[in-house]
């Protein structure tokens, strides 16, 4: 039997998902024995033209990481969809927008103004902003168009499977690759490499259903490593986040930030977390409740840190 053909691509992402694959270490050698990697721009010298030259549906599975934030990201998503039998949204950005989707709290104009004009380290006396086309004496130069709103991969093209995480943990990545090699796959649209329960189920900390009267931020305290983060007043996304990562952040004494995305059958992770957090406020009067609510820093950035593009509201009003 010929080895399955596999491709990897990165769009609007940090490169951490590529590192997650490297985390396999020597297992990566075993992977390369099982599959043929035909396209991986982060690692090998492939040109987009090589990919364009491949016949349609000639790649068995493509792992696509990164959100869709510019026209190049979108072009690659469409091209890889054409060339691949299965397309996998790999990592939090492709799955639900990830950190790049926090750009949806602002606009392209604001981002350009801040990046190319306002930052103190920017030296741009002529206030030049990126243009998609520019004429130079050698000819015309083009760069991709930057989008106003960041989208997930499945808001752009049809997606077969999802592997959540920022980045997906190595152990799960290796299991997922084995699943594809063995052809042992659940129905289309399933989330792979994660559990069906919330992170709290795999967190070893003791929980006592205590309510909180104060929000504490991680830089203000050293959390008790045995006790539930939320009960210490530290916002931990565990109750609203899919498990499967092994609670690695909590082992490092840091709260969950929600990168594994919403639980099965949940559309809006942030709304659920907002509800979970407000429910444990230890305040009865309107004034006390208001005070506690006001002390939650940046609700959108906290509750939708990795899932704003996938949320019901998707972005702030423009």
């Amino acid at each position: 039997m010929p080895k399955p053909k596999m491709a990897f691509n990165w769009a609007s992402s940090c490169g951490g998902c590529e590192i997650a694959i490297f985390e396999l270490g020597t297992k990566l050698v075993d992977v390369s024995k099982k599959v043929d990697i035909v396209f991986w721009p982060a690692i090998f010298d492939y040109k987009y033209s090589d990919l364009e030259a491949m016949p349609d549906k000639s790649i068995d599975v493509t792992f696509f990481n990164g959100a869709i934030q510019n026209s190049e990201n979108e072009h690659m998503a469409r091209l890889l969809r054409e060339k691949s039998k299965l397309l996998v949204a790999f990592g939090a950005c492709a799955h639900s927008g990830g950190i790049p989707a926090l750009a949806n709290t602002t606009t392209r104009d604001q981002i350009f103004t801040s990046s190319y004009k306002d930052t103190p380290t920017t030296d741009n006396p002529e206030k030049v902003l990126p243009q998609t086309r520019v004429q130079v004496k050698e000819g015309e130069l083009t760069i991709p168009e930057f989008y106003n709103t960041v989208k997930t991969l499945d808001q752009t093209v049809d997606v077969d499977y999802y592997v959540p995480g920022c980045p997906p943990v190595g152990e799960q990545v290796s299991k997922v690759i084995d699943q594809f090699v063995a052809g042992d796959l659940p129905p289309k649209g399933s989330v792979l490499g994660a559990s069906q329960k919330s992170l709290c189920h795999e967190c070893k900390r003791t929980k006592t259903n205590r309510k909180i009267s104060k929000i504490v931020r991680t830089f203000q305290t050293i959390p008790d490593p045995e006790k539930c983060m939320l009960e210490q007043g530290i916002i931990c996304m565990g109750p609203a986040t899919r498990g499967g990562c092994g609670a690695v952040c909590l082992d490092a004494n840091m709260p969950c930030r929600g990168c594994y995305g919403p639980l099965p059958n949940v559309v809006d992770q942030g709304g659920k977390m907002l509800s979970a957090l407000a429910s444990i406020f230890d305040a009865e009067s309107e004034e006390d409740i208001q005070k506690l609510a006001d002390s939650v820093p940046d609700p959108i950035g906290t509750f939708y840190r990795f899932s704003l593009a996938r949320s019901l509201m998707r972005r702030t009003k423009q």
Partner: protein, 145 residues
């Protein structure tokens, strides 16, 4: 133009009304033949505490111009403290909606007892008026632009 059909903007408001107080109050407004705008589409819930913040987000994202959550006055909750939980969620939700750019007037939490038909009518009236002056929310079109 057909007489009686106005061309002015009529807000669509989704109302989550608790069955013990607010829904009964709305019923009373009807049986007492109190006049008030027809802009609220009521959805009966067992308790205002049943209203998941996601319901509000979904309503706004799906085309509602406003959302009214109405329950028993604090202290009168049929389930003792369901409405206090609603206040906790609502205060935090209000902050987040403000970040999203949704005007405060569009999402309201009100207390209406079973005997306050008149109060329910006046709340719907003032809310409809406020949202009418704000104009349509049209979240989807604004987001996808």
């Amino acid at each position: 133009m057909v007489i009686g059909l106005s061309t002015r903007f009529e807000p669509k408001i989704v109302g989550f009304l608790c069955r013990w107080c607010a829904y009964t109050g709305a019923d009373l407004a009807g049986t007492s033949r109190i006049k008030y705008p027809p802009n609220v589409t009521p959805i009966r819930v067992n308790c205002s505490g049943r209203v998941d913040p996601t319901f509000v987000l979904k309503a706004l994202a799906s085309g509602a111009d406003g959302v009214l959550i109405a329950g028993c006055h604090p202290g009168d909750c049929h389930y003792t403290s369901g409405n206090v939980k609603t206040i906790r969620r609502f205060k935090l939700l209000q902050r987040m909606l403000n970040q999203f750019g949704v005007e405060k007037e569009r999402v309201r939490l009100e207390w209406v007892s079973a005997s306050e038909g008149e109060r329910y009518a006046r709340i719907v009236e003032s809310m409809t008026k406020e949202i009418r002056s704000l104009g349509p929310l049209e979240w989807k079109t604004k987001v996808e632009a």
